[in-house]
Amino acid sequence: MNKPLRRIAIFCGLLVLALLVRTNWLQYVQADDLNTNSKNRRVLIERYAAERGNIIVDGKPITGSVETNDTDFKFKRTYVNGPMWAPVTGYASQAFDANQIEKLEDGILTGNSDQLFFDRTMAMFTGDKKKGGNVVTTLNGAAQKAAYEGLGSKKGAVAAIDPQTGKILALASTPSYDPTTFAGYGASDEKAWNALERDKNKPKLNRALREVYPPGSTFKVVTAAAALEHGVIDDIDAATDTPEPYILPNTTRPMVNHANGCKNASLMKALEVSCNSVFAKLGDEVGRDKMLETAQKFGFNDPEIDTPVRAAASVYDKNMDRPGNALSSIGQFNTATTPLQMAMVAAAIANDGKLMKPYMIDQLETPKLDVIKKTEPQEMSRPLSQKNAQLLQKMMENVVESPNGTGGKAKIDNVTVGGKTGTAQHGENNSKNPYAWFISYAKTADGSPVAVAVVVEDSEAKRDDITGGGLAGPIARDVMKAVLDSKK
């Protein structure tokens, strides 16, 4: 009987071998897949297992953690002034995952990142409790407050950038939401979340980064930059050969002006009163490809503007026909942009033509506040020469300073301010209330500390009262003022 016994021994050996192979397969080959499985609650449990690190603005945390007596999630996220900061922080919810900085920097905030390996190891020896690291943002609390309060009950967004570094100073979006209301996983959290999901005003949408709007007349500064850069205009005070009315190329459709005195207006004058005809004709003369080139240098059509929260790509159509290009040159037709993108345009002009890559995480810190990683300002591109940038500055400052200028509401005493208004029509046959835009920058002796873009989507005001200068201008001014005051 020994021969079959030996065979059975081999059979039993094969059973054990199969188990050994399987455990290797599961725990070595498939381990990563299993650990990142969306059904694996360990990711969430880990996220709230220890006190989560904070997101810092002006040296103070805008997030917090409270201890719960839950078995799965020991800590729950809280937010200081949640609705105001939600476009910056994103949310971290026990039931609904996380997004934006809370998600992108989860490794640092939970303390699990490999970058914190040394700290974890040290904590193991010193017996310290595990704690997450901090994310220090570039934001300016006063500017954010001015932006958020300026928007108030209106629907809209504000993006402010430090032109010299690319630091994002304010990022507001209204209506907003309070991430604290659904930070847990109970019934009230679910209710709050569902209410937000159903809200047709889309409060969870980060309008400053993720929504694209027709830029309206604010885009005219891009057209002006393209015209200067490509040599279509040399002298900004020289009269242009613009008929009134100007008929769009290849069509019989006249380009309507809302301003007076646009016939043969100089570039300076055209920007001051926002002549559609002059810029449509200019865009046509520059041509689609060169317009596209300049727009793309400003950041249009770039799907990977990561701040590190990714901004939606702004659009300057690559394939449109001549009339389309002419319309696009005044910010209509297919042209669409995020508030961040328009802030980048203003910033590049204010920074003498050098566009800095926008970013909002200044540095990452260990729980012991040692710096792990610091973001260095990075040049993104040079959309226009220094000379042309200064010419544009002159024109934009004229928009604010000149008695006829549309941007008078953004004036700040004793500070040079440049700006451009925009009123973008939208809806079928332009039936809906237009978007009010304002982009601007402030300048001191040390260069420009802030450039800002404001869009007010929809307001209670009557249609005729909506102009970029009237609605969005004061918000931009308050944001700039807040930044200037905090520099003193």
Binding site: M1, L5, V16, L19, Q27, L34, N35, N40
Partner: protein, 469 residues
């Protein structure tokens, strides 16, 4: 090195009994779980667990009693079996205690049953009863061949044990329990031993008939109908268990056990072919109309499917436990295997080992089981009587199949069946029955390794002297 030699003129030299080796190994088998226990305590509360002394002494005492019993009643037994079983039992106790500390499981129990009672003390009691039975087997069963006498009684007992659960209500979808007042017994665990005894007795008698009195048909030896009868009966039984008790594991275990023993008894490969054919026919037949079985297969193929997640979550959670353990594990007490919830410390306890001890721990752990099986097969090889050979291979084969079916199910290698990992899983029937199984194996190995008695002095010795002229 001493060599056992038997000649008529030289008396037998005693084979080394290896009892001291066993004692040394037992010391390790006690110390390792005690360290594991301390480790869990430190990981969970940052201090030495309060019961460490009691636990260590308790485990040491149990191991000591078992060792003394072997020393006294089975001097020549295999030295590895007892330490291996003790180590597994000790590690299992630590794991059950560790899961007792899980706030998640405590809260779950309080929500579902209005209260929580720790399982580790109960398991310690069951282990003590199990070791008691182990000692009992060694004391009362002086020679395993006595069991031959009870061949048909065993069959009757096994049938009764297997059929009884049908009359009791299903627990969590499987009718594998008998409840007697406060006690619930899983008779399948005991039936596996009794049925191995029956098979050994039956096959020892019928093996020649089964092997030789057969016609050759298409290259296979077909046995006669009257010899085939009991085999068909067992096949039908295992299918009936499957149908009425929805117990996939037990039916697989019995059928596999029978095929192995038939093959060993008859030395005919055709039996394996028959066995596989019959089990395939049975499995496909049952699977085609039994939704429970279909469901298990579904869950096995798609544990993470959205539609079935509510029901297949346990399997998915177990897989994620193993993944989370990775190569080195999270460390004892530091995993989240309690997410499995129900049956975390019984059917699914292997996941906790997988998560907290990692791939390294799992390999070692599976090899411990492999070693027990290997020692069992070795005992079968060494046994001198066919009954002992059959019984030893039957018991170790059953053990191997059970380990494979449970571990394979939890690790997603095969569809999940509700059986317990021998020695480590929480459950009285399982621990007690497996200690009895080890007891019988030790008895057989003792008989097998016992040196042959010295030959009686020959009365003719005087007469056959060389007579000189």
């Amino acid at each position: 090195m001493s060599v056992v030699t038997n000649t008529t003129t030289i008396g037998a030299i005693e084979a080394p009994s290896r009892r001291n080796t066993e004692l040394m190994l037992l010391a390790f088998a006690v110390i390792i779980p005690v360290f594991a226990y301390i480790n869990v305590g430190l990981a969970l509360d940052g201090k030495l667990p309060a019961g460490v002394l009691g636990y260590g002494v308790g485990l040491g005492l149990l191991a000591g009693v078992a060792h003394l019993a072997v020393r006294k009643f089975a001097k020549y037994a295999d030295p590895l079996l007892l330490p291996l079983a003790a180590l597994l039992n000790g590690l299992g106790l630590v794991m059950i205690w560790r899961l007792d500390q899980s706030p998640r499981l405590i809260q779950r129990a309080e929500k579902l049953f209005g209260g929580f009672s720790p399982d580790a003390p109960k398991q310690l009691l069951y282990s003590a009863i199990g070791i008691g039975l182990f000692v009992g087997v060694l004391m009362l069963l002086k020679d395993h061949r006595i069991l031959q006498r009870y061949t048909y009684i065993s069959m009757a007992a096994a049938l009764v044990l297997l059929i009884l659960p049908v009359f009791f209500p299903a627990v969590n979808g499987a009718k594998i329990w008998i409840s007697l007042g406060p006690f619930t017994i899983q008779p399948g665990e005991f039936a596996k031993i009794i049925i191995a005894i029956f098979f050994s007795g039956y096959l020892m008698v019928k093996r020649d008939a089964l092997a030789l009195a057969s016609r050759r048909f298409m290259g296979l030896y077909l046995p006669r109908g009257r010899d085939l009868g009991p085999i068909l009966m067992v096949w039908a039984m295992s299918i009936l268990i499957l149908v009425f008790e929805t117990d996939l594991g037990t039916s697989l275990l019995f059928f596999g056990l029978f095929v192995i023993m038939l093959y060993v008894a008859t030395e005919r490969t055709s039996w394996i072919v028959f066995g596989l054919l019959m089990s395939a026919v049975g499995a496909v037949g049952v699977a085609s109309f039994e939704p429970h079985v279909q469901q298990r297969v579904d869950f096995w193929l798609n544990p993470f499917a959205e539609e079935t997640w509510r029901q297949s979550e346990q399997i998915g959670q177990a897989l994620m436990s193993f993944g989370s353990g990775g190569t080195l594990g999270t460390g004892l007490g530091q995993g989240d295997s309690d997410l499995i919830g129900f049956a975390a410390n019984s059917d699914f306890i292997l996941s906790t080992f997988g998560e907290e001890m990692g791939l390294a721990g799992m390999m070692a752990f599976l090899l411990l089981y492999g070693l027990i099986v290997e020692r069992g097969v070795r005992t079968a090889l060494a046994a001198r009587d066919p009954f002992g050979k059959l019984l030893a291979i039957g018991l170790s084969g059953a053990f191997a199949i059970q380990v494979f079916v449970v571990a394979g199910g939890v690790m997603g290698l095969i569809p999940l069946t509700g059986m317990t990992m021998p020695f480590v899983a929480y459950g009285g029937s399982s621990v007690i029955a497996n200690w009895a199984l080890i007891g019988i194996l030790i008895r057989i190995s003792d008989t097998a390794r016992r040196p042959a008695p010295a030959p009686a002095p020959s009365p003719d010795a005087e007469m056959t002297q060389v007579v000189r002229p």
